[in-house]
Amino acid sequence: MNHWTKPASVNLVDLGFMDSRSKLIDLAAFLDRVQRAGQDDDFRVAALKQAIALLSQNEPERAKKVLLSFSDPSTEPIPKATMQGAIGAHKESLKVEAV
């Protein structure tokens, strides 16, 4: 049995605009900072720029698309784990033009 009750309508822009504005400016400042430092050739920065382009899409699946753009697209297990952590972006899956 589904207990779902749709939430009451609230102004989501009121709730989220200032937080999103702040995060966007932080992102812009980060790109400025790494560029000034000559570090914008890092593949992770390229991955960020590739993901930013996805924000202009019209379908409400931007978060999913951004996550997929950072993801390892391969399907087979790797031979051995040589590290325990994760980096946040997958180098080999970057489109050539974004690097």
């Binding site: 207990h3 779902w4 699946e61 390892d72 297990p77 790797i78 031979p79 952590g85 994760a86």
Partner: protein
């Protein structure tokens, strides 16, 4: 409002954290076995750890009126060493009869390696042999989508595993639908930077109508917040959720899943 923390690594937290959680309405904490921030050198270390989360943490929780349950396994970060993993898994059956042990977890994958997958499959067999619930950890960041698919395939390949008795944790927007579509439960982890924020969690809950989903803080040794669940409940209220709908996600859903163990009582 009362809530359940269905995935909290309390060995990493202080008594002050227990107190804050109790004050915020936490009535039950469930603690999966995990990586403690460094690799253990022998199965003896895991034996002590299993005793800690099945015997000692329940006593700490009880001081604040909180019930404590646990899950047992060797986590995927330490599963690359298959000999160690086999030794640890051999310890698990003697703990499964304890009244506060709910099942096998958090098993899964970390870097999606062959050895990790081998140990995952052995854990799945262990769960099938002892008719246990399963709690699954999915990999981090760029490894999550691939790892989630490998995990779902391994689970679906076992004839005795019932999806409704398995929860796949740490889902995000790109993995939640594949988990729910195949009949599994999904866990959303509220964790700064590397997993999910309260607003993203609520977006997913609304998109999926909050069925077969729980939310948790993980609250481990990393930068994490043991009050992430009640803070998200507050955001749900601000976003127009009724008290009943909030309780459905924060209390009723975890109860519904974990009661399948036959040991869990709210």
């Amino acid at each position: 409002m009362p809530y359940i923390e269905p995935h909290g690594h309390m060995v990493s937290r202080t008594m002050y954290d227990y107190e804050k959680m109790a004050l915020a309405g936490c009535e039950i904490i469930c603690e999966p076995a995990f990586w403690a921030g460094f690799d253990r050198s022998s199965a003896d270390g895991f034996f002590d750890y299993f005793r800690q989360i099945t015997e000692y943490e329940p006593k700490r929780a009880a001081r604040f009126g909180i019930k404590h349950f646990s899950w047992l396994c060797i986590n995927p970060k330490e599963a690359e060493d298959t000999m160690l993993a086999d030794d640890v898994m051999a310890l698990i059956p003697e703990f499964l009869n304890k009244p506060n042990v709910l099942g096998i977890g958090e098993i899964g994958l970390n870097k999606n390696s062959r050895n990790e997958l081998l140990i995952l499959e052995k854990h799945i067999q262990l769960a099938a042999d002892y008719d246990q619930l399963v709690l699954v950890h999915t990999p981090h960041l760029e490894d999550k989508r691939k790892g989630t698919q490998l995990i779902l395939d391994a689970l679906k390949n076992h004839p005795k595993i019932k999806p409704e008795r398995v929860i796949i944790d740490h889902v995000e927007e790109h993995t939640i639908q594949m988990v729910l579509d195949q009949g599994f439960w999904a866990g959303i982890t509220l964790y700064p930077e590397s997993k999910c924020t309260p607003h993203r969690a609520i977006d997913m809950l609304e998109s999926c109508q909050a069925e077969r989903i729980w939310m948790n803080s993980a609250c481990d040794w990393g930068v994490s917040d043991p009050l992430a669940v009640p803070k998200t409940m507050l955001e749900m209220k601000r976003r127009g959720w009724t008290k009943e709908s909030i309780q459905h996600v924060a209390f009723d859903n975890p109860v519904k899943f974990m009661q399948q163990s036959g040991k869990f009582t709210p």
